[in-house]
């Protein structure tokens, strides 16, 4: 196990180095840089002033030098300065991470709390009216675009309560914040719960046909015990994988939700930074998302061992 963890750790480092090169190069392949954008926003063209600005920001240096400046800074915790706000990039990124993390966590909790039990019920009551209804519910979760659903929720709130649940001021307390984030989390969680539900259902159906389930029933185990202790435990592995993937996605993929609900999180900030070609923000933020994705995947792999004693990585 220890060997496996060490091997995975080095693989993670290699993945992150590869990612950093990819991010760095791809960002510079996108046409235009901050200087082009700032001058375009002012509706003017002055090549000398543009060149001066590029030199001021170090964009005139060879790409290798720029990459080394970034990576060596990253090692020492110096993420550079944001081009637009002219503030340290770390100060710009750090306050946004907890906001997105809370939203992602809530969405994940909702999706698991809704998706897993409904998936089990759907499988246990296969081909019943309840099963069909839940399948329609899950299909709608997968097919409704999240921006549409989010707008529909906002419109309903404004129409029926004369109040709009968007994030305009810093919440007064943690409970206020949870209340405020619950609505977008439900909108996001609906889609994720549909995915989890469908996967739980198909996985459960497969397990419920296994011999050991029949044996458990023959031994006189209660239906609840068969379904939850015997079937679900064995059906949950693919579900854990998808939860891991969703968790990583939710850190950087909530662009639409954050925009519609005006949440000052990472995803919206990242899109805005890409628009401005604010390299220090984009590079560091994408690296952060890459780290989260790699770590979550690692944790999911570790969770397999805990959930299924048959899995041994050293083998």
């Amino acid at each position: 196990m220890a060997t496996y963890i060490i091997r995975r750790f080095f693989l993670m480092i290699l993945t992150l180095i590869g990612m950093s090169i990819l991010i760095f190069v791809m960002l510079r392949l996108v046409p235009g840089n901050i200087s082009d954008i700032l001058f375009d926003a002012a509706g003017m063209v002055n090549e000398a002033d543009k060149a001066r600005l590029e030199a001021e920001l170090g964009l005139d240096k060879p790409i290798i030098v720029q990459y080394w400046t970034w990576i060596s800074g990253l090692m020492t915790g110096d993420l550079g300065y944001a081009y637009v706000s002219e503030k340290p990039a770390l100060d710009e990124i750090l306050p946004r991470i907890p906001v997105t993390a809370k939203l992602a966590l809530l969405a994940l909790i909702f999706s698991v709390l809704i998706g897993v039990p409904l998936g089990v019920i759907s499988a246990v009551k296969q081909d019943s009216i309840l099963d069909y209804s839940l399948r329609v519910f899950s299909l709608s979760g997968l097919s409704l675009p999240s921006f549409w659903l989010a707008l529909l929720i906002l419109m309903a709130f404004v129409h029926y309560f004369g109040w709009i649940p968007i994030y305009t001021d810093k919440p007064a307390s943690i409970w206020h914040e949870i209340g405020l984030l619950s609505i977008p989390a439900l909108a996001v969680g609906f889609r994720a719960s549909a995915l989890i539900m469908r996967l739980t259902r198909s996985s459960m159906l497969e397990v419920l046909r296994q011999d050991y389930i029949r044996t458990a029933r023959a031994k006189g185990a209660s239906t609840a015990s068969v379904n939850y202790n015997h079937a679900l435990r064995n059906a949950v592995l693919p579900v854990i994988t998808i939860i891991g993937i969703e968790a990583a996605f939710l850190i950087g993929g909530l662009i639409v939700t954050e925009t519609v609900f005006n949440i000052p999180g990472v995803a919206r900030f990242l899109v805005e930074a890409i628009r401005w070609r604010d390299y220090p923000i984009v590079q560091n933020l994408v690296m952060f998302i890459a780290v989260v994705t790699v770590v979550v995947n690692f944790l999911v792999d570790m969770a397999y061992v805990l959930l299924d004693p048959r899995i041994k990585y050293d083998d």
């Binding site: 235009g32 375009d40 002033d49 944001a82 707008l151 404004v158 709009i164 005006n262 000052p264």
Partner: protein
């Protein structure tokens, strides 16, 4: 006796009614205003967008300013601000301002005439400090020097007479900056002498301003502060306005189709339809064959059915005009009879298009032998939508165009490189004056003339109107320039757009300017009746 008493009571009543509004303003409260995007900085002199003007203008003061309580910006609506009074010398090349005394910057340092000099030295590129971008340097091309006469007097020395200098100084784009704060700091933590102090700019979130307790106009501002909240999604902005989370929408944010939605959900909201002084125009690369042929360009100018654009895109509310904003809002717009004499502006569109077809047929084009080209435009709906209509209209004169959308941030650079053949463009104008519009967009040396139109005859006329003191004579010169620009097919104007700005009735003392969106955001007399 009774009659006398009645008269006295009536007189008191009339007096009270006349004076009541002056006492009615309530102080206090935070004005909540929507903002559409994240401004690049808050340094007015470095930017050219209302995204910066709206939150930054309350921080600053000008020497003079367009009256914030009048709807139209004009020479007659210029009011004193940091300048108490002003006077031209006999040669009309020296403009001297007497300044307010005892004014302090937000950091407590005194404001003096030296700050005015510093500001204009910065704009003229004479100071050690530099602006990253200086989009309106061309406005002051005629300013030779700014001289200081003590702490409270300053003189602008001009190369030649330029009556419109005062108009440009009255624009929201002409604030005075402090000598003791560098250009970089002004982008992130601006210091001004205006009614509101800068508190915080949280990127993508909000811009917060607080009342300047030491504002040089006693008793003002009425508000305790202003919060601009950045909401990137327009649907969310509209919903949060109708739910009364905000007192005011972003400038011109409520388009004509959106107005119906807003009014149905917030019927008491006050919404004013006004031109934004942003025109949709056609640009043609005259270096790119066959568009180097003036006949082709003329045919294109003739083919435009302006009313169709206006009907489709603005539900009939937009207006036809030349480069200058059309009347009644525009101060320099052409009368209908003058405008209709210009190529392509005649009321008989079918006749114009038949003439255009004839030109193209003479050049060898027909339905079976079309001229194939691309129409380039920015990848934003307000650019794309008119471009699509243009493609349709050009088909009538055998031009088969394909839409090429350009990454929005690269648009001006692409046009400046002449890396296009035909384009759909938008032009916004900072102040309703020919010295601003013509000089910025059509003079040979302007950095904002990204289409690089340059005609010595137009240049001469632009200079001539600039020195003309007689408004009527100047107006005639302006119309002559309009005709020349149109003949040269230099950005033929398709239409001028209009949009709505809305606020709730409890917001008082705010007036929307109807011939410019960059100069009415001082907010010093705005108050909340809550």
């Amino acid at each position: 006796m009774r009659k006398t008493t009645t008269l006295a009571v009536a007189a008191v009543g009339v007096f009270a009614a006349a004076t009541l509004p002056a006492f009615a303003q309530k102080s206090g409260g935070i004005l909540k205003v929507q903002h559409r995007d994240n401004p690049a900085s808050l340094s007015v002199h470095e930017e050219a967008t209302v995204s910066v003007q709206m939150p930054a203008m309350p921080i600053f003061s000008n020497l003079v300013l367009f009256d914030q309580q009048k709807k139209l910006q004009s020479v007659d609506s210029i009011t004193p601000e940091l300048a108490k009074s002003w006077a031209w010398d006999d040669s009309k090349t020296k403009l001297t301002f007497k300044l307010e005394e005892g004014v302090k910057w937000h950091d407590g340092k005194p404001f003096t005439a030296a700050d005015v000099k510093c500001t204009f030295d910065l704009l003229l590129g004479k100071s050690k400090d530099r602006l990253r971008k200086n989009p309106r340097a061309i406005w002051y091309r005629n300013v030779k020097d700014v001289t200081v006469n003590g702490d409270a007097e300053v003189t602008f020395v001009l190369e030649k007479p330029q009556p419109s200098l005062l108009t440009m100084l009255a624009s929201g784009y002409s604030p005075i900056y402090p000598c003791h704060v560098n250009a970089a700091t002004m982008r992130t933590k601006p210091i001004g002498t205006g009614p509101f102090k800068f508190v915080e700019f949280k990127g993508n979130e909000s811009i917060t301003l607080a009342r300047n307790e030491n504002y040089f106009r006693k008793g003002l501002p009425y508000l305790d502060g202003i919060e601009f909240k950045i909401i990137a999604n327009r649907s969310t902005r509209m919903l949060s306005f109708v739910s009364k989370d905000f007192d005011m929408t972003f400038s011109s944010d409520v388009t004509i189709p959106l107005l119906k939605d807003v009014k149905s959900q917030a019927p008491d909201a006050i919404c004013e339809l006004h031109p934004q002084y942003v025109s949709r125009n056609l640009i043609v690369n005259e270096k790119s064959p066959p568009f180097d042929n003036p006949k082709v360009r003329r045919a294109m100018a003739l083919a435009i059915d302006r009313q169709a654009f206006i009907d489709i895109l603005t539900e009939g509310q937009g207006s036809k005009g030349g480069a200058m904003l059309p009347s009644p809002e525009g101060q320099w717009g052409m009368p209908k009879e003058v405008m209709e004499k210009m190529t392509g502006y005649g009321p008989d569109v079918a006749k114009n298009q038949a003439e255009a077809q004839k030109i193209m047929t003479e050049l060898g084009y027909s339905a079976s032998n079309t001229l194939k080209t691309k129409i380039s435009t920015r990848n934003i709906a307000i650019y794309r939508d008119p471009a699509v209509i243009l493609i349709d209209q050009l088909k009538k004169i055998f031009i088969e165009a394909e839409l090429e959308v350009v990454e929005t941030s690269l648009w001006h650079a692409k046009v400046a490189r002449r890396d296009y053949t035909v384009g759909m463009n938008l032009t916004g104008v900072g102040a309703d004056d020919p010295d601003v519009n013509f000089v910025e967009n059509y003079s040979c040396k302007s950095e904002r003339n990204y289409t690089q139109y340059c005609n010595p005859e137009a240049e001469k006329l632009i200079d001539q109107q600039s020195t003309e003191a007689d408004v009527n004579k100047r107006r005639e010169l302006v119309w002559k320039i309009e005709a020349l620009l149109n003949e040269d097919v230099a950005r033929p104007i398709i239409y001028h757009d209009k949009s709505n700005h809305c606020w709730h009735p409890h917001l008082k003392g705010f007036v929307t300017h109807h011939n410019g969106i960059y100069s009415n955001w001082r907010f010093e007399k705005v108050w909340l009746d809550k």
